[in-house]
Symmetry: C2
Subunit: 385 residues, 2 copies
Amino acid sequence: MTGILKERLFTPGPTPLLMEAQARALTATLHHRTESFRQLMRETSEHLRYFYGTKNDVLIFSSSGTGAMEGAIANLVSPGERILVGTAGKFGERWLDLAKAFGIEAVKIEAPYGCPLPMEEFDRQLRSNGAFRAVYIQATESSTGVSHDVQTLGRMVRNHPETALVVDAITGLGTTALDPDGWGLDVVIGGSQKALMVPPGLAFASVSEKAWKLIEKSKSPRYYFDFAKERKSQAKGETSYTPATTLVVSLHAALGYIRQIGRENLIENAAMLAQATREAARALGLKLFAQGSPANALTAICAPEGLDSGAVVKEMRQRFGAIIANGQGTMKGKIFRLAHLGYYDAPDLFAALAALEITLNKVGHQCELGSGVRAAQEIYLKRSA
Amino acid sequence: MTGILKERLFTPGPTPLLMEAQARALTATLHHRTESFRQLMRETSEHLRYFYGTKNDVLIFSSSGTGAMEGAIANLVSPGERILVGTAGKFGERWLDLAKAFGIEAVKIEAPYGCPLPMEEFDRQLRSNGAFRAVYIQATESSTGVSHDVQTLGRMVRNHPETALVVDAITGLGTTALDPDGWGLDVVIGGSQKALMVPPGLAFASVSEKAWKLIEKSKSPRYYFDFAKERKSQAKGETSYTPATTLVVSLHAALGYIRQIGRENLIENAAMLAQATREAARALGLKLFAQGSPANALTAICAPEGLDSGAVVKEMRQRFGAIIANGQGTMKGKIFRLAHLGYYDAPDLFAALAALEITLNKVGHQCELGSGVRAAQEIYLKRSA
């Protein structure tokens, strides 16, 4: 160490923590089978419904987001039934892996990494390729920084009463306008370590009435992620199994903060930071990885010509303590990703971009110092009062 | 509130907290009359000697820095004795107020706000104007952002065995190279909420052997800030009166962190940030308030032509949650101050400057977006590997 070096997270989860919410957990003495915890759970569920913008149940699980994704397979689909999966990145591929693990046939609709899924293809499959028990998609694909038009997809799936629409909105919630009830998003998955500003360890699933009816029919094995059992428990303010109590306390506090600033403002905040980052990248002579409909949750930027993105990631970490994400899988070395979801403000982005400018020059991509920051400042000014 | 707004302190005390040190205090269960606390005090004193760069005693008081300043008057000077005071800002004036409160005659050497004190004038007074019991000065005058040449002053005072040199280094410690033992700085005052990265509430005074001899002679009333009594107590790892225990725990942890990064690196960090800020201010068409020998602890910047600096302070706070300091006393409205002491890194400064650029344009001072950041980035690159 040769001076002050603060660690800063710019990864699409975990994200910077809301310290006030962390502090709340420190002082909480509670047992999960008491009225005071039940009260906390009921309030947290109510807060979550606000955050989601839904009147549906929102179940809370002590697990990572993948746990709730597994639940959205096991609770909805029986072995031998078919599902339709949109896959355009690492998280889309997870739906396929889950289907395989549960012996469920998945018909996939693909798009190349960096491109959004073609919605018309879903319509074609739903109309012409027989029954699907459910359709699975990401609201925003965190591995590529692309967002999907789940509103249009909702309109398509709505015409099929025996088909549920499941949306992984783990990085979509709090970064993108979503209307589960109005758009017919039957199951929407979320996670604590994203726009919610608390540590990893909690996952969420909203479940529509249409989905509850289908859940009754599923014969797939499930126990920990049994949605119907959790619905019963959580109606009483309990969870079926021991919950991660301190995380629930932090979540409750963070959701209180989000209600204060307003869900729409939280989303606009991410949208502004994302647009500012895209303009900054262009000003610095870098290409964006997303070909159309870039996500607000994060921006995926192509490595400078002739360079490995790992060099950028490493230099940012070593020089500035700034942790940005490399590409995943075959995208590793080709892109780096900068997140905007949750507890970030404009000065956070200015700091990251100034650090990135120095980093780029150090690893061999010449760019004008201050020019990325300026592009971001201009977007900030355009979108703020 | 219309989005995420993080409060950021850029004031010359209190400064950003080292959270790891705060967290340590949360888990400390201790009583101040136990061996475990005595051990903590002894280690903290040892750490403080490293931080000061001295072999002298460094006393710890539970008070603000002003308390230790009072002690440096009451313990050294008797009513009727004379002292020499250098005053070039609000904190220099505090020495005069203290002398008055204790019935001590102060001969003052002045410089206009923004200018350093003329060292030759101290020499002239010491040589020609009879006996002074002590000489009082600031290492860095936080109200104007000017640093003083206490090394030269030490050389002058050293020739007078009955005169102590007292240096208020509350914002000087950890930002400026000081050598109390080599330069003959007999009493050096410090405070916890500055480069030490912990909250306000603790003050420090290092005391040389020369000063201890003079302290024996002082007849001024003192009780809480009785240096000799504290020396005895603290030699045993105790304090005479109940100490602010959790602050001592945080201080111990913060000093551990400072030893890890190195005192010299902490100082270089502030020096780099200060130079970068001065260059940024010039790039933005702003004038610096300090006329010669600017401090590393903070930079005082003149309000843009025709504007009140309060407008800049207010806009920074409301728009970005960034708290910078206005001028004090007659300097209010004329300058604003940005601090560099303690837990700041380069990205913190880039963020503050980008916010300042937007702020300046908003309050009516046109400047090129990104140009201040670029000037700071260039200094960063020049001074880092």
